[in-house]
């Protein structure tokens, strides 16, 4: 009961035989070794597993790998361009937008989507945008600063 899938991940294409029940997050982590995206819950609330599928931020723990067949996936590992950090990554670093770092890859990808849709968000819009990503360390304040700072840099 397996299915053949072909998925383009961070620009490279992968072909695998997978069980339909294999979650996208487990496909990325266990089959392909892309362990940057994390699992923090099973109820689609924490957002640690956030990746982009065809340009949309999604929670990869609530998607089967077969659903990603033929699609383009971007994970945190593919965000920096040949060693140059994405402005959102750089901003999280500069503003201390992370502590234990577990939620960070998902938080960064959600922030990226937020800024793509709203390049100059208010504090309230930032908080609303990252509501699907839980962080237990930072109290979100430095994350808000990081998103603002990234917005300023990307807007230049």
């Amino acid at each position: 009961m397996t299915k053949s899938i072909c998925v383009t991940i961070n620009g490279s294409s992968y072909a695998n035989e997978v069980e339909p029940r294999l979650l996208l997050i487990h496909y990325l982590r266990d089959v392909l070794g892309l362990t940057g995206s994390h699992i923090g819950c099973e109820t689609t609330l924490c957002g640690a597993c956030t990746v982009e599928v065809d340009g949309k931020a999604v929670k990869s723990c609530t998607m089967f790998a077969v659903q990603a067949d033929g699609k383009h996936v971007l994970t945190i590992e593919g965000l920096a361009n040949h060693g140059t950090l994405h402005p959102v990554q750089e901003a999280f670093w500069n503003e201390h937008g992370l502590q234990c770092g577990f939620c960070t890859p998902g938080m960064i990808l959600a922030s990226k989507q937020l800024l793509e849709r709203n390049p100059n968000p208010s504090e309230g819009e930032i908080r609303h945008g990252i509501e699907g990503n839980l962080c237990r360390c930072t109290g979100y304040q430095h994350i808000v600063n990081a998103v603002k700072s990234a917005a300023a840099k990307m807007g230049v």
């Binding site: 487990h26 070794g33 940057g36 699992i39 670093w93 201390h96 992370l98 502590q99 930032i126 237990r136």
Partner: protein, 777 residues
């Protein structure tokens, strides 16, 4: 304020420096436990009891064992010689139930592990777990600590007739006299609800046994790799030097990973039995059911005072919900509450009686603040209740009772010596930032318009930097190593293994300053018993306050050696080590650290009495705890129609002694406040009367989301600690400790116009709305 990015050697301590650990974390290249992949690795899935209390009549593992891909199924019968799960705390007369790693004939809480299925992949392990048939005979359970104390309550542990694990009495001064002389006595029942720590990374273990060496390596998402190694070796009957524990990247702990868990020993057992690496990763559901909870107090306070607001004494009856077992520090946590009962105040008469109660719930243990938030919440609420009774301003009553700067070191009624303090300073700063008189004017206007606005003031004191060894269950010292390579590059090792707090940065700042090198020249390692000689941990805000001085002294020791080698190379007795070079004070000639280090390894010639190489190790025993303090002011507005609380301003002025990195200190305060606000407004572990956890997922247990947090205005005063050479005190728990009373005081202040005197947490909209309808919350 943007961080300073340092490229050259200058004073680094005190600067806002972005973290060294971040590049791996923001690029997805860090390695948490679940990221570890090994050849031939197996996966475990644990079968857990759905009942809080049940007899296990039988377990049938045949179907599970027959599933292709399942390699083993173990039950309590297989593992009963492993363990027990250790309790590290001791109290007179403490009842310690035997805590098997898998239930043997009975379960004691919902989620109790009953069997483990080991398979070639995690999907098959999960399928196998579903095929294990357990025959349970449900038994009556009790989940509420006060009900567990009632006559006729079901006995959590049938070997004892009642559910009292211990009674503990502590008294300082003459409380009877204080109450006899009192002109006013205020009383209040104050609860501190059960909380679920919710580190974003759940627990996880990888165990790898080398049958040739008979050596086990355990990778665990733990805060205490070294203590875990010592205790796990005992549990597994393994010589300690055949066991290595690695804490890889750890995704938050907050105390929940400051423990030794059944699953850690269980994976060691499985790896040794199957001779293959095995991985177990906790689900969030398991994390909520089986990883320790925090708080769980029902406290009865009485405070004696004079009419002028002078506090004379305090009586406390503290009921601690322990859960079904003692985990590592379970019974010790409420004793920490008692230590901190005096708060920042001068009164010296205290009487406390703790009763530790078993319930059919997961054990409570250390959660951010561990006993001190409960105490601070209690004393700061009582001070406000007294102020209300005496119609005094909450600021005035605090100022009146503060210990004054000239009184330090100050001996408290609970036997502590407060190291240093200037308690007026953060309060005054907070009042000024808040424009306190202006706030009160606005409040008076709001009240005229029928609006509910509250101003909450709370001051707090903390006991940090655990501590002198006699005062701690595990040893209160910390260990640091400093190694300089032949090329002059520096590696610092610390036993205080962090998990998000940023010691790779702050310790590099300390080392770089002392050695006169740049941030990039220093690497900080931790979390591996094969790399660091030994260590205790970061808990109790001790990472920087005990680990930091250990590093400082290791650096001093090494600098002596550097100077001796420098003197030898410069052929001079009069040598100074400055800015990373040994300089001859007479000739002005100098040699670099790399030249000195290189010479020490090449060892063509050695200074008299010196060994080759360039390393130092230091175990530092602190002479006392440190006592940070601060003041938080919170402005709230209550929606009279819905009971919803809006925090419109949050001002935190914290004094954690000298600050190594203000950027990171602010991060600690924000995060601490978030967890305090979570307790004040949203979070509560709810069990039903049968011991079912009703908040068993993030669907029902509300940790703050970005939209639920106010902007925190974080400020500081700096009163150095005399306890250590860095003058640091610790800040990890401050936000959590200062927050809850400030928020509750604010909401009670808002509702005081209705005669409300106290509200228990969490202050949910429905609870507030009920009060607004004239009901009891």
């Amino acid at each position: 304020m943007a961080p300073t990015i340092i490229t050259k050697t200058e004073k680094l301590v005190g600067q806002r420096i972005r973290r060294k650990e971040d590049p791996r974390l923001i690029t997805g290249t860090a390695t948490y436990v679940d990221d570890i992949q090994m050849q031939g690795m197996h996966h475990a899935c644990i079968v857990r009891s759905p009942y809080a209390a049940a007899k296990i009549a039988g377990i049938d593992t045949k179907a599970a064992s027959a599933l292709p891909g399942v390699v083993a199924v173990f039950t309590g019968a297989d593992t009963k010689d492993v363990g027990p799960v250790p309790c590290g705390a001791s109290l007179p007369g403490l009842r310690v139930p035997y805590h098997h790693i898998l239930a043997v004939d009975r379960t004691y809480f919902a989620g109790h592990p009953v069997a483990v299925v080991v398979a070639t992949d995690r999907y098959i392990a999960r399928d196998g777990a579903e095929l294990v048939e357990v025959d349970y005979d449900p038994l009556p359970a009790v989940a509420d600590p006060e009900k567990a104390l009632e006559a006729g309550a079901p006995a959590v542990h049938p070997e004892w007739a009642d559910n009292i694990a211990f009674n503990f009495h502590q008294e300082g001064g003459d409380t009877a006299k204080a109450f006899a002389e009192a002109e006013v006595v205020v009383k209040q029942r104050i609860t501190s609800q059960r909380l679920i720590p919710t580190a974003m990374e759940t627990r996880g273990v990888v165990a790898d046994y080398n049958t040739g060496d008979e050596a086990l390596t355990v990778y665990s998402s733990t805060q205490i790799p070294h203590l875990l190694r010592t205790l796990l070796a005992q549990m597994l009957g393994l010589p300690e030097h055949h066991l290595r524990v690695v804490a890889p990247e750890v995704g938050g702990g907050f105390g929940s990973k400051l423990n030794v868990y059944a699953e850690e020993a269980l994976m060691g057992f499985v790896a040794m039995r199957i001779g293959k690496p095995v991985k177990w990763i906790e689900s969030r559901r398991e994390n909520y059911l089986c990883t320790i909870h925090g708080r769980g107090h029902v406290d009865y306070y009485e405070m004696a005072a004079r009419k002028d607001g002078t506090i004379l004494g305090l009586r406390l009856k503290l009921i601690q919900d322990l859960g079904a077992y003692h985990q590592l520090l379970t019974p010790a946590i409420p004793t920490l509450s008692v230590l901190m009962m005096p708060g920042l105040y001068r009164f010296k008469n205290i009487q406390a009686d703790i009763v530790g109660v078993f319930t059919n719930c997961v054990p409570t243990d250390a959660y951010r603040g561990a006993g001190r938030p409960e105490a601070t919440h209690g004393i700061e609420r009582m001070v406000d209740i007294l102020a209300a009774e005496l119609k005094m301003d909450p600021v005035e009553i605090r100022m009146k009772n503060f210990i004054q700067p000239e009184e330090f070191p100050f001996a408290t009624a609970t036997g502590l010596i407060y190291d240093s303090g200037n308690y007026d300073a953060p309060l005054k700063k907070a009042l000024e930032l808040a424009d306190y008189p202006g706030l009160r004017r606005r409040q008076a206007e709001a009240r005229k318009q029928g609006k509910l606005m509250g101003v909450g003031v709370s001051t707090y004191g903390e006991i940090c930097a655990f501590g002198p060894s006699p005062a701690t269950p595990a040893g209160g010292w910390e260990c640091a190593t400093v190694k300089i390579d032949p090329s002059g590059k520096v590696t610092v090792g610390t036993g205080a293994s962090p998990h998000g707090q940023g010691e790779e940065t702050t310790f590099a700042q300390i080392a770089a300053d002392e050695l006169g090198v740049g941030m990039d020249d220093v690497v900080v390692v931790h979390g591996d018993t094969a790399v660091v000689p030994y260590g205790i941990g970061t808990f109790g805000s001790r990472g920087t306050a005990v680990g930091g001085p250990a590093l400082y002294y290791a650096l001093q020791k090494l600098k002596e050696k550097i100077k001796k080698f420098g003197a030898m190379l410069l052929e001079s007795e009069d040598v100074t080590f400055v800015e990373g070079r040994c300089v001859c004070n007479r000739s002005g000639k100098s040699v670099s650290l790399a030249e000195v280090a290189g010479a020490s390894y090449r060892a063509m010639k050695l200074p008299p009495g010196e060994d080759p190489g360039m390393q130092a190790t230091y175990f530092w025993e602190p002479p006392n705890f440190t006592f940070p303090f601060g003041a938080h002011i919170v402005v709230t507005e209550v929606d009279a129609d819905t009971g919803k609380i809006a925090v419109s301003r949050y001002i935190a002025v914290d004094d954690c002694g000298k600050i190594i990195n203000p950027l990171l200190v602010d991060g600690q305060v924000h995060g601490g406040v978030a967890q305090g606000l979570g307790q004040a407004l949203f979070e509560q572990a709810v069990y039903d009367e049968n011991g079912q956890l009703l908040t068993g997922e993030l669907m029902d247990y509300a940790i703050p989301k970005a939209t639920m947090m106010p902007w925190v205005e974080s400020h500081h005063t700096e009163t150095p600690s005399p306890v250590n050479p860095l003058g640091v005190k610790g800040v990890g728990e401050a936000g959590t400790i200062g927050c809850t009373p400030a928020v509750v005081n604010s909401v009670v202040d808002a509702l005081s116009v209705l005669g409300v005197r106290h509200i228990d947490m969490p202050m949910t909209p429905e609870k507030i709305w009920t009060l607004l309808q004239g009901g009891q919350a």
